[in-house]
Structure formats: structure tokens, C-alpha cells
Amino acid sequence: MVKDNVIEVCGLTKRFGAFTAVDGISFAVARGEIFGFLGANGAGKTTAMRMLCGLSYPTDGRGSVAGYDVMTQGEQIKRYIGYMSQRFSLYEELTVKENMELFGGIYGMRRSEIRHRTDELLQQIEFAAHAGERVGRLPLGWRQKLAFMVAMIHKPEIVFLDEPTGGVDPITRRQFWTLIRHAATAGTTIFVTTHYMDEAAFCDRVSIMVDGRIKALDTPASLMQQMQARNMNEVFVKLCR
């Protein structure tokens, strides 16, 4: 297999004053991979992800996303990535379709292209009938699926999902992971954080962060083997303790 990494990170660090949120992490993510980025609350996952998305400058270290440097080429990176924040951040007063149009337009897509892509994405989540509804009135599960679809509107190379299934019911969670798998099969790299260890098992590889550092990085199966654990939950508890 030819190594084609879309994310490469070496010694990436972020300090806020005396506090080191991310402490020299290094890893690489291959194209089309589902990469699980796990860790306890406050371990530094969101901070690391924000650096990769060009929202936050690293204090130290190097990193490239889609071939561009995270320190100096943040704006280039932004053309090739999709991002779904932990906080719901679509415009609530706009309808489903209007949000799609807005973000499609921002990514420089043509109107006909946006229309076509919107239909395609809404069909995928079986939501075409609700295209005219205001986003603020939708239940959480729908909002999350929609936010994912908006992040996919411009067919990004990499999608960053920050706890996309937080607070979502088990059925919607399973649907969500079907969507993720579908996107990965189509060639999009998925970079996802989660607290649910059953979800970690769906990832190709997972990293586990503890206090700003990556403590483990491998496929779920070999991590379970190494740690002599029956499931990912045990792996997580053993590492974080």
C-alpha cells in the first residue's frame, strides 16, 4: 500500500500561559481512514483538532493537513476540510436548505452545483422533505446529522468531527456511523473524537490522549490485545487511570 498521509503531525504543542493543553503529539492519518481521536474530558482533543483546522496557532511543533502547513497555511487548509464543532453551529434562523446554500456559496460552489449536492446529501439522511424547515426547530439528532452533511457539502478531503454523537440516542448514533462509513468509502478521511468506546471499535485506528499526550495509537483490535482487555472500554480505563 502506497503511503498517502493527509494529516502528518510532529511534536504539535499548544500552551495557554503556564498550562500545556497539547504536549508534543505526533501521528499520521492516511487518506480514506477513519481515525478515532479519543481521550477523557479536558485531555486536549478539541485543542489539537482546532490547530489542525487552522482555528488555533500551534505554540510549537509541525503539522500538515491536506499538504499545507498548519502554522502558516491555515487558510489553504480550510478549502479542503470540513468541520463539525462540538457546539451546534449552523444558523438556527435559516432553513436546512438555506444553510446548505450559504456554506456551499462560501466554499465557492455554483448555485446549480449546490442544489444538486444538497439534494444528494439530504437524500442520504432521508431528510429531503424537511429542506424548508428552520434548523433551530429540529431535534438534536437531526441537527447533528445535518451539521455533518453541511460539513460535507464541498466534498472535502478530510472531515473533522468533534464529538458528533454527544447526547444523541443509540439509533441515531448507529445511523450516524453508517454515514461516516459511507463518507470514508467514498474517499473522505474522517477524523473523529468521541466518548463512546463502542464507537471506537468502528474506527480503523484510534489514538488515546491523556493529559495532552498520546498514550496509545493502533487499531482497536491490537490495542485490546496489547492491554489484555475484552473491549475498548477496558483499554480506555486502563490507560487513563
Binding site: 483546522c53 487552522g54 482555528l55 488555533s56 496557532y57 491555515g74 487558510e75 480550510k78 478549502r79 476540510i81 468541520y83 464543532s85 457546539r87 451546534f88 453551529s89 449552523l90 444558523y91 438556527e92 434562523e93 435559516l94 438555506e98 446554500e101 450559504l102 456554506f103 456559496g105 462560501i106 466554499y107 465557492g108 428552520r134
Partner: protein, 367 residues
Amino acid sequence: MRRLGFLIRKEFISFRRNKFLPRLIFVFPIVIMLIVPLVSNMEVRGVRVAVVDEDDSQMSHVIVSHIEACSSLSIVLMGQSYREALSSLEQGRVDVIVSLPPDMERLLMNGLLPKIRIDANSVNSTKSAIGTQYVVAAITSGIAEMGVIAMAADMARITSVRYFYNETLDYRHYMIPAFIIIIVLLVCCFIPALNLVSEKEKGTIEQINVTPVTRMEFTLSKLIPYWLIGIVVLTEAILTVGVVYGLWPTGSVGAIYLAAMLFAFAMSGFAIAVANISDTMQQCIFVLFFFIMLFMLMSGLLTPLSSMPQWAQWLTVMFPPRWFVQIMRAVYLRGTTIAELSSAYWALTALAMSFGVLAAVSYRKQS
């Protein structure tokens, strides 16, 4: 720039679906222009006068009748005891005391000059100064009527005053352009700034920050819609003032709109810059309020620029309202042209561009 179209469209949809803002924009300028010009009045009326008439002569009665005839003065105390009048003044029941001395008429008849004493409570300096002037005028005209001093009679005859531009000496006319400015100022500062900070608080700005939108595009998408709203508000205020008070701009409407467009752009650029550096709504409101206070007090809106210390006058060069006030009063009341005010227009243009750039530069997509 195609992106800008999408962003502006979003601003208009959000504005239209907002429950509060469209109503505010429609009602606020009209209500303010209906109420504020009526209640804010610097004219001095109802000055309470105590007369201590120790002379009790024909002359003193004529003077009293002249004081009574003055619509701004009202005699609340007549007597012969100065002490009684003074205690009334100390208790705040009287503003001005006029003491007519015992042999006033006799002295005047003999061509001598009696001392007529006037005491005034000058806590409110404007009221005491103007009230005293009214009293002096009433006394002079009373003496003149008696024809005792040729000079006094001549004084009344030889001076004549003609008032230009505001013939009725209506303070309202002087202040109406200022109130229009205040409305445009408030709308153009608060609405865009609070809109931007609310995007920060809701987190929607983060979704924008991970896109390749440029800082200029995003900033313009916040400036342009509120700039148009500023123009709408101005139009409402001008129409209300014209219909209700009959005050229409003397100069060209184009001159007013050109100045207003520059002013609105400068103010919303300034407000967006403040919003960019604010993390919360409270912070943003307090910083804006601080500057709005300075703008209101230091731009010649309420008190003349020329009476401020020199350093303060220099400082106001950076205040957009200073130039807009100058233009609005000149164009509205005197009909001055753009060419005559070119320096003020250039200053506003420079400030509009500077604040626009400041707004774009202070916006950070990456922290």
C-alpha cells in the same frame, strides 16, 4: 466576491426573521423624533422673581408691570423686606430678587443714578444668566417708558437684532439634526456589534472561521446590511421631522445622504472592531457605551466644540460624529453645499475607510 453575496443574503434573511429588530428599526426613529424634540428645550422659562419695592413710587410700579409683562418671568413675591426675599431665595422658592431702593424715583428724576440690586441663584448658571438679562431688560424698558433717562430710551431705539437661519429662535430646530445623528449613531453602532458578538456566543462564527472566507468578505457582510439600515433610519427620521415639525432640509438632500452614508459606514466599522475584540455581550456593550458617551459629549452635539479646551478639540478630529454634526447643521439649517464643507466630507471619508480597515484587521480567524 461571489461569497460576499451569499453572506449578505444570510444577513438579510436573519434580520427579516428576527422578532425584534425589524420592529425596532421601524418604530424607534419615529418615536424618538416625535418625543425628544418636544421635551428637550434649553429655553429659560418661568424664572421666579421676588420684588423688594422700598420705593413704592409710580416709577417702581411701572418697572414691576414691565417685569410682569415678560412671559418668561413670574413675580412670586412682592414686599418691602429684603431679608424675607433672601430667605425665599435660600429656600429655593425664588430665582431672582430685584431690590428697588427707597429714593429711586427721586434720584432718577434729578438725573442721578440709583443702585438697583439684582440677586440671582446661579446654581443653574444658564437660567440665572438669562433670567437676570430678562429682568434687566424689563427694568430698562420701564425706566425708558417714564422717559427719565434719555440714554435708556435711546438704547432701546438704536439697537435692533435680526436672527438668521432660525428666525423663531427655536432651540428645537438647532437640536433636531443632532437627534437625527444620535439615532443613526445608536443604530449603526449597536446593531452590527451585537449581531457579531451573538455569533461568537452562539458559536456560529467558528463554522465561518473554518471556511476559506476572507476577513474582508466577512467584515463587509456585517457592514453593508447595517449601513443600508442606517440609511433607512435616516430617511424615517427626516420624514417624521418634516411632517411633524415642518422642518425640511434647507440644503440638498443628496449632501445629507452622502454624509450619512460615510458616517454610518465609519460608525459600524468602529462598532465591528469593538465587537471583534469583545468576547461577551456585556463587554461589547460597555466598551461601546463608553465611546458613545464620548461621541455624544465631545462632538458638538449638545455643547459647542469651540468651548472645549484646545487638546479636546484636536481629539475630536478622530470622532466621526463631530464632522457629521457640522455637516448636518450646516446643510439642514443653512443650506450649505458639499463644496463649502469639503474638508468635513474628506475627514468623514478618511474615517470611514480607516474604521473599515480596522474592522477587517481586528477580525481574527485563527487565534
